[in-house]
Amino acid sequence: MPLLEINDLIVLYGEIEALRGVSISVDEGQVVTLLGANGAGKSTTLRAISGLAKPAAGEIVFDGKSIAGLGPEAIVRLGISHVPEGRRIFPGLSVKENIMLGASNRRVAKSELSREADAMFDLFPDIRSFSNALGWTLSGGQLQMVAVARGLMAKPRLLLLDEPSLGLAPVIVQAVFRIISEIRRNTTVLLVEQNARMGLSVADHGYVLETGRIVLGGKPDELWGNEAIRAAYLGGHAKVSA
């Protein structure tokens, strides 16, 4: 049984169908990547899973339990942690406070939280020295590290990562993806990426979304092998031929 299974998911924004029957499944221990252009519905899929967007129809089953329609506070308690687009670090709180708040889905004493946050810096050594800096003072790469660290503090079974590479310098993107390959040892990851090359490099399975529908799914090699998909979503030929 997959850890997460989505069947025929439909999400509406007003009258517009943002998702028009999406079905994906994520097995425990995998990294699954959702690819697609802007507006294809990648972020909406994650928002529906974490409870920020209410599904109009369809099933979202996590660990054998239907979670469609639950609120975000309930869903994160079940073990799904969503690191949303734009990082959303609390600007007026320090890095460490941001990270400590990541465990708000669990009951932990403050002293233990502080220890766990310090331990988190072992995985993210680059932000250790910014522990007391306020959120708004950080660079994009640092914000992304804090956002992932905060997401992991929930001790999730499934981590939803939305565009972790967006707006980052290539060397920082590589650092972020090194961390993703560390995370996958303990945590299942559903990753949304526009950077298909990086996104598929860490994936066990990939899906391509197009205007609210899954148009293709398969192993990273199979996706790479599909000429049309390569041209449309994976870069390379598209720019040359267009």
Binding site: G71, V76, R77
Partner: protein, 291 residues
């Protein structure tokens, strides 16, 4: 010089009342992005609760005080559920109008029960005050200053050193993200309203023996407190307290040295000067709220 010291003491005392109400304004504004126009009525209702418990029922002052504060926490909760919660997904305008409506409702409910004549509430202490060198320290003003100091320290400790305080801050900065982390946003906002109602109520109870207890007392205090939040820097906790104290001192000195009838005018003159020359206030936010 002796007069100046005396005025400074009085000004800080009355400024502390503005500071408490201003703090309530700021905390609700930060949590909900809405100015609560019923904040002043919280002070008025609490003062009337004191009249009910301590004067009408003749219960001990300390018990009346605790009951009035408990009543304010309850009123804050009801206010949240009845006024803010149903409109929480709307823009700020319907919410602001609802708070104005609630303030009219509260004032007129009290009017219906007590009528228009002001009530008198005695101070906590029998001793009217003590003479300290050239300055006469009125016991009620001393109480106001002491309670405000304790609350400022408590407020700092609560928001900076407890996880609940951090969760409240996180909620005021980004509700959606807070909910993604498992923070119960509706609980955080409930706590904010209860706490702010208690702060406003405390101000009303403390200032009641100095003023009369009337249905107008809320709007007067709220206007000054609102001016204080703008002078201090809107949305800033330290600004609300400094702004409140500054306003109390300015109007006390203005009344003594320039003109008593224009006492209220000085507060608003300072407000206008700030709006023209330093609209962000003393502690104005230079940083964009959302990074």
């Amino acid at each position: 010089m002796d007069l100046a010291l005396q005025l400074l003491f009085t000004g800080i005392g009355i400024g502390a009342v503005y500071a408490l109400v201003a703090l309530g304004f700021v905390l609700i504004f930060r949590a909900t992005n809405v100015v609560n126009f019923a904040q002043g009525e919280f002070s008025m209702v609490a003062a009337f609760l004191m009249v009910v418990f301590a004067v009408d029922l003749q219960w001990p002052y300390w018990l009346s005080f605790l009951l009035a504060l408990a009543g304010m926490a309850l009123l804050g909760a009801i206010f949240n559920l009845g006024v803010y919660y149903p409109l929480r997904h709307r823009t700020f305008l319907p919410v602001i109008i609802a708070t104005i409506g609630a303030s009219i409702l509260l004032a007129n409910s009290v009017l219906a029960i007590y009528g228009p004549q002001p009530q008198v509430l005695e101070g906590w202490f029998e001793t009217p005050g003590i003479q300290l060198g050239p300055v006469y320290l009125d016991s009620q003003y001393l109480l106001i200053i002491a309670v405000t100091m304790i609350l400022v320290v408590f407020n700092y400790w609560f928001f900076e050193h407890t996880m609940l305080g951090k969760k409240l801050q996180a909620t005021s900065q980004d509700k959606e993200m807070a909910s993604l982390l498992g923070i119960s946003v509706s609980t955080m906002i409930m706590i904010t309203f209860m706490y702010s109602a208690v702060l406003g109520g405390l101000a009303g109870i403390l200032v009641a023996p100095i003023l009369f207890v009337s249905i107008q007392m809320g709007s007067t205090i709220a206007l000054k407190a609102f001016a204080a939040t703008i002078i201090g820097g809107f949305g800033d906790v330290a600004g609300a307290i400094i702004g409140g104290l500054a306003l109390g001192i300015i109007e006390t000195f203005g009344a003594a040295y320039i003109s008593v009838p224009y006492k209220d005018g000085f507060a608003f003159l300072v407000l206008v000067l700030f709006l023209v020359f330093r609209p962000q206030g003393i502690f104005g936010e230079r940083v964009a709220e959302k990074a």
